[in-house]
């Protein structure tokens, strides 16, 4: 008697719990893939719009002009007659659209009629826009200056858009200079410091305190480092907005990360390696050189590549210390003496993106620069980050002690 009822009770319960489990798993699935999808949307839109700028159908398939030229102001002339007619039509369209609203008090027949007229109007507007595009003249800054007789303003309307012509050459060069210098400083200081802290310093209170504060500094917002760099390098030491100030600000920013991850890489080397070497009579430095560093180096390398991505990607620390919104020379051009190289401001890709996304309007003339710069930047960062992740996976597989 009891058997069947027990079984049936158990089955309903298990069915309910099965449903519950399935619902829960679906929810978790949605959470996971909503992250994947939203980032995918960001990648996809920027890649789609940006690749139109950076790639081209003819040889050499990459728009080298965009990658090497300096950013310039774009000057646009449009035929005035067409523009005026276009404006008029657009005004009529707005009137029609207002009449379509329920408050305008039109009957249904009237509304359908308006709709039909709207359709005709839209077609006309499209045609006019095409004409306007054919008649339009786009000039870069150099071409505009070279022009002796400018198109007459009676026949043409004139607009200009800052940063929209030319390319991002100086920004790429500036970012490269900033990254190379600051990473060199940060890695030298950071790795040497990590070796001392792990291998030499007595494992006492001081060393623990240093470790703790380094870990905590790694989480300090980058803008605070920017503030510090601006105050001490740019103003207090009087270097001005310069490459040197940028190098030091950025390297101070990544130092805690480099130290912490280098320490971790060194700590991951088993103590038996050191003891074995010391037991054979090797000195401390020999032990470090032959038995610790070779095993810790891959880990340090990974972290250093990750910090390259961080340094190249940060905008806040260089906003006031190293970056110019516009500089129409490459960093090695126009220097009167060699030391000027360190005391010049440079353009940098992330800051350039900030400038073109917030300081200029968004329209068909500016989109090229906006998406082009962001796409190139994303590709650069992506290469660094991907290398670091792949390296890490490789090291994890290789290092089994």
């Amino acid at each position: 008697m009891n058997g069947p009822s027990f079984a049936s009770g158990g089955s309903t319960q298990s069915r309910r719990s099965k449903v519950k489990q399935r619902v829960m798993v679906v929810l978790l699935f949605i959470a996971t893939y909503s992250i994947v999808a939203s980032v995918g949307v960001i990648f996809a839109t920027i890649t789609y719009q940006g690749s139109k700028v950076v790639f081209q159908p003819q040889y050499p398939f990459i728009n080298t002009a965009f990658l090497t030229q300096t950013p310039e102001t774009l000057h646009v002339y449009k035929p005035r007659a067409t523009e005026n007619r276009l404006l008029e039509k657009q005004r009529t369209r707005i009137q029609y659209e207002q009449q379509l609203s329920p408050y305008a008090g039109n009957t249904l027949e009237q509304q359908t009629e308006i709709l039909a007229q709207l359709e005709i109007l839209n077609a006309e507007i499209e045609e006019l826009e095409k004409q306007s595009q054919i008649g339009e003249i786009r000039l870069s800054e150099a071409e505009f200056r070279a022009l002796t007789d400018k198109p007459s303003l009676e026949q043409f309307t004139y607009e200009n858009f800052a940063y929209s012509a030319g390319g991002i050459g100086p920004a790429i060069a500036g970012t490269a200079i900033l990254v190379v210098g600051s990473i060199a400083i940060a890695l030298t200081l950071g790795i040497l410091c990590a070796i001392y802290l792990n291998e030499y310093s007595p494992h006492g209170r001081f060393s623990r305190w240093v470790r703790l504060s380094v870990l905590n500094l790694a989480g300090v917002p980058s803008i605070v480092f920017g503030l510090f760099g601006f105050g001490i390098f740019v103003l207090f030491l009087g270097w001005g907005v310069s490459v040197l100030a940028g190098w030091f600000t950025l390297s101070v920013m990544v130092l805690p990360i480099v130290i912490a991850s280098s320490q971790e890489a060194i700590r991951a080397v088993p103590n038996s390696f050191r003891e074995g070497s010391l037991a054979l009579g090797a000195s401390k430095w020999t032990t470090i050189r032959t038995n610790v560093l070779p095993h810790a180096l891959p880990g340090m390398l990974t972290s250093s590549i990750l910090s390259i991505a961080r340094v190249a990607g940060e905008t806040a620390p260089i906003m006031f210390t190293a970056a110019f919104a516009l500089r129409d020379q490459l960093p090695w051009e126009g220097l009167s003496k060699w030391s000027d190289f360190f005391f010049q401001g440079v353009m940098a890709l992330p800051y350039h993106i900030y400038v073109v996304s917030s300081k200029i309007p968004q329209n068909e003339y500016t989109l090229r620069m906006q998406y082009g710069a962001t796409f190139v930047f994303l590709v650069l960062i992506g290469v660094f980050a991907l290398t670091s992740i792949l390296l890490r996976i490789r090291i994890r597989q290789k290092q089994r002690w």
Binding site: R310, I353, L378, I381
Partner: protein, 493 residues
């Protein structure tokens, strides 16, 4: 090789490492010292500025101005009510003539015509006084605000008293009329009641106001501590003003907190959910693909995310909010495309990889024997996950959430580009409209205003104070996360 040469060699290396470590630690220590030095200078300068504000009598004028501003605000509110009333009637498709009859153009305006007339002389009086003070503040190189000057400022108090008492009478009259006036529209009547209460409070507050004016003293001292407190509790951040600069942290702090709260509300469930899914339920192929992908997001530069917000996401949100299907939501449609929600939603993307990675690590570290034991007593996979594995790993999860919060509150570029940058304390209401208001933040203000400050000036130091606050918050969050992770680590392994 001789041992002494060897030893020297050894020593050189040790010294090299030691000195580098020393230099590095010094540099890192220097950051803290420099921040503190520049920031603490603020307290002194701000005290000085506030003292001058008081001794020059500008505070006195501002005290009087409060009453004027309240009166103007009340008038504006009444005008607004009238405009809204007309709009409602129009929306109900009433005829223009009917509207005029119901509202009674003259009648409603007459309600506060007297108020308007009595406010006018007050405005003129205040302008006179303000010019007097500003003239002295701007022109004298060495500011001397002596007894004669102050007497000049306070000389015609009787005139002010009579203006104010007239104004108070006008307010009482208004109160009486508002008590009987009805629009017949529910929401508007409630607003009228509110206006009535405001008018009543106004006339009631006059005596207290006049007393506080009499009690005001130009030489009453302001301590450094008061200045510091007024930095942390000040409701205004006004710089480069022609009268008095105010450095109040509150609008920036609340903006930062609002944005972070939105970001964490989105990030915590999705990131932890994703971590649980990837760790417990995902297939091996999913795991190897999705995990590095989400980790990769952490390398995504914030300026790119901000760029996406400015170019597309903000506009998408606005279009979305204008759709008819969402008209029933009280906070839709939104007005500004760049607001706290836009910034918060995008910032969630920056917190997610941190929370995900650390949570996943914490789940991974839970001993397998616990899982097996749970399965052995007949628990389902779901029960095992939520009743055994998650509670065991909870300390790791909490510390992950804290670190994610640290990342969000210190983020600059997304906030600067997408939050709308309006310096205003968000007014928390039940409808949720405050979620879609433009706000400013602590990180954003530094990035926006640092370029225009004078080295060593008050504004410069104020930004360093904000930097110190950010620094301390991030230290606290980081340290808390470490302590949490250590303290509550399960003993069984």
């Amino acid at each position: 090789m001789s041992t002494s040469a060897n030893r020297r060699f050894e020593k050189t290396f040790k010294n090299l490492f030691q000195s580098t470590a020393f230099v590095t630690i010094c540099i890192l220590g220097l950051i803290i010292l420099f921040l503190l030095k520049e920031g603490l200078g603020f307290v002194g300068s701000y005290t000085e500025s506030l003292r001058e504000y008081r001794s020059s009598g500008l505070e006195y004028v501002d005290l009087m101005e409060n009453k004027y501003r309240d009166s103007i605000e009340l008038q504006n509110e009444l005008t607004q009510i009238r405009a809204d009333w007309i709009k409602r009637l129009q929306d109900d498709r009433q005829d223009q003539r009917v509207i005029q009859q119901t509202i009674g153009d003259s009648e409603f305006s007459a309600l506060f015509a007297e108020l308007r007339e009595t406010t006018l002389p007050l405005g003129a009086y205040l302008k006179e006084k303000r010019d007097y003070v500003m003239h002295a503040r701007n022109d004298s190189e060495e500011a001397i605000f002596d007894q004669a000057y102050l007497e000049g400022l306070q000389s015609d108090r009787e005139r002010y008293d009579s203006i104010i008492s007239q104004l108070a009478e006008a307010q009482i009259a208004l109160t009486r009329e508002l008590a009987v006036f009805q629009t017949g529209q529910k929401g508007l009547d409630r607003r009228l009641q509110k206006a009535e209460a405001t008018a009543l409070a106004y006339s009631g507050g006059v005596i207290h106001h006049l007393e506080s004016l009499s009690a005001w003293k130009a030489d009453a001292s302001i301590s450094e501590f008061r200045a510091l407190i007024s930095f942390f509790t000040g409701r205004h951040w006004i710089t480069a003003s022609d009268q008095q600069d105010w450095y109040g942290l509150l609008p920036l702090l609340t903006g930062s907190i609002l944005i972070s709260a939105i970001a964490m509300t989105i990030a915590i469930p999705t990131a932890i959910g994703a971590a649980i899914y990837i760790n417990q339920f995902a297939s091996k192929a999913e795991r190897t693909l999705v995990k590095p992908y989400i980790e990769f997001i952490s390398a995504l530069p914030s300026v790119v995310i901000g760029f996406f917000g400015v170019m597309l996401f903000g506009e998408w949100m606005r279009t979305f909010s204008n759709m008819d299907a969402f008209a029933w939501l009280p906070f839709f449609p939104i007005e500004e495309r760049l607001n706290a929600f836009t910034a918060g939603a995008l910032l969630a993307l920056m917190a997610i990889p941190t929370i995900f990675t650390l949570t996943e690590d914490a789940l991974e570290n839970v001993s397998n024997s616990l899982k097996e034991a749970s399965h052995a007593v007949g628990a389902t996979k779901l029960q095992t996950t939520f009743r055994i594995i998650l509670p065991t790993a909870i300390s790791g999860v909490i510390s992950a959430v804290m670190l994610g919060f640290g990342r969000v509150i210190g983020e600059t570029m997304v906030v600067l580009l997408c939050a709308g940058n309006r310096i205003k304390i968000p007014e928390i209401d039940l409808g949720g409209e405050f979620l879609f208001e433009p706000v400013h933040s602590m990180t954003g203000i530094i990035a926006q205003e640092m370029g225009e400050v004078v080295y060593g000036g008050l504004h410069y130091r104020a930004l360093f104070m904000v930097g110190i606050v950010l620094f301390l918050v991030s230290l606290a969050v980081n340290y808390g996360a470490q302590v949490f992770a250590k303290k509550f680590t399960p003993k069984m392994r």
